[in-house]
């Protein structure tokens, strides 16, 4: 297991000292893999990412129990400034560009973890992955379309040379064709740069297509895990996330009995 990059051991996260969101989450991520984290809203996926990246802190959240081991070092409750300098970069949900900065300035903020080092070749790399950004590089980010912004925030994260990239719902609110494009690029980044990726998604079908491994979360716990192929064929996953009956044909929502819809792995 020397390929292990990140390991969460039974972590609990509490916001404002009272609201417990994660109740003993354990997961492990191998180097150069794409690991997908699935689950409904409020399951704790984003909180898991924030626990890893240290962004819990400004939101008054804390890892109260368990350890987060990254390359053998304990990372829980460290400041985001420290964690990002270890090569973990989170791409926030809902894109969050710097609206009043141009595209190129946005990308340059990605060099904050290695201030003063040359960045020209990295800019070229980002434009190579996201040619759409090149055309708009002098324009303000606030005027870009949703797809361009998603590319921008992913490119911005790439500028930091991340070892571990945490992507929070990259497909949120994007047209299906753009989603396909974004996922193709995610896979290319993983293959060409060797970046390990944790992917949080609602779009389970797309996520399981590019991921190597998947975890399913519910109510602050991991309820299922396995390689992507196995999860894709799991009858419960097929029913709850991919919208198909066990037989494989697309299921009408009306056919699902309401008591069955409610019952998951609780």
């Amino acid at each position: 297991m020397e390929n292990l990059l990140l390991q969460l051991n039974n972590i609990s996260v509490v916001y404002s000292d009272v609201i417990q969101v994660l109740k003993g989450v354990s997961l492990s991520v191998q180097k150069n893999r794409i690991v997908s984290l699935l689950g409904s809203n409020g399951a704790g996926k984003t909180t898991t990412l924030k626990a890893i990246s240290g962004l819990l802190k400004p939101e008054n959240g804390k890892v109260t129990d368990g350890t987060i081991l990254y390359q053998g070092r304990e990372l829980q409750n460290q400041a985001p400034e420290t964690i990002t300098r270890n090569g973990i970069i989170q791409v926030l949900e809902g894109r969050q560009p710097f609206k009043y900065l141009t595209i190129e300035e946005n990308l340059r903020v990605g060099t904050a973890t290695r201030w003063g080092k040359p960045y020209r070749s990295d800019l070229e790399k980002v434009y190579h992955y996201f040619p759409a950004l090149w055309k708009r590089r002098r324009g303000l980010a606030g005027y870009c379309s949703g797809g361009e912004l998603q590319m921008l925030v992913m490119g911005r994260a790439l500028m930091a040379h991340p070892e571990l990239l945490l992507l929070d719902e990259p497909s949120l609110g994007l047209a299906p064709l753009v989603v396909i494009e974004i996922f193709r690029i995610i896979r290319r980044i993983n293959e060409e740069e060797g970046t390990t990726i944790i992917l949080v998604e609602q779009n389970a079908r797309m996520a399981l297509q590019i991921a190597h491994h998947g975890y399913v979360m519910e109510n602050g716990k991991i309820v299922m895990e396995g390689s992507a192929d196995i999860l894709r064929d799991n009858p419960d996953i097929r029913e709850f996330y991919l919208g198909m009956s066990a037989a494989g044909n697309i299921k009408s929502y009306a056919d699902v009995k309401s008591y069955r819809r409610r019952k998951r792995w609780l």
């Binding site: 985001p80 400034e81 926030l92 969050q96 609206k99 009043y100 870009c144």
Partner: protein, 292 residues
Amino acid sequence: MDFFIQLLVGGISVGFLYGLSAMGFVMIFKSSSVLNFAHGELLAIGAYFFLAFIVWAKLPFLLAFLLALVGCFLLGIMIERIFLRPLIGEPLIFVIMLTVGLAAMFKGIILLIWGGNLHTYPNFLPETLGINWGVVRIPPVYSATLVIGMLFLLLFGLFFKFSSQGIYMRSVADNQRAALSLGVHVKRVFALSWAIAALVAGMSGMVLGIINGVNVHDLSAIGLKVFPVVILGGLDSIGGAIIGGIIIGLLETFTGGYLSPSLRDVVPYVILVLILLLKPYGLFGLKEIERV
């Protein structure tokens, strides 16, 4: 006509100083949403640093000027480190009240050391700096002010537009969460904005001290003028602060010159109210970019 041009030049150069010190105020507000009520005292501290270096230490004026700037810069960093950093995460009103306390403290320290009398700098500006084109006569202080003002403006413009550190500072002002997620050292950005704010405020204080003499009450009162300036320009616009400063400076000198010197402190506020009636967010206040 020559009177008009003299007022114009005087107004623009004083306006530059207002604008520059307001720029410092806006920077602190943009990066950390803190209204700094100790801004006038920062102006005064700059002037007294300069006084100490030039009168007590008898340094050549250029060296004294640079040293005073460095002193202001370090003071800004110290204020952030000692007083503001422990308050990160506390309600904003605490931080704002803290700046009110800082104002009282700085004023007290200055009064303790220098007393409340008017001090003057020795006359060190060469007469050749003054401009003398026939009817147009501009005293050396004003032309020096214009040059220094534009130089600082250019320098900071370039810094914010092109340097990495300047871009990080703008990113924090724009979206603090996203900046944090990319590893921008947000606390360092706060410290740097206080340092730059103290530096430009101190610089304005020094030059105003050359023009009017150094007195802690007068200088901290000028610091209050930062408020009409930034409200006029828009609280979160650095360019607006400069233009707001020039407008207030011009209004003041023209009122003083043509109407009555006793009105010069009033008319700018009257115009301010009128402008705010028409543009409630100031001339260049934030217009949120909305994607439709």
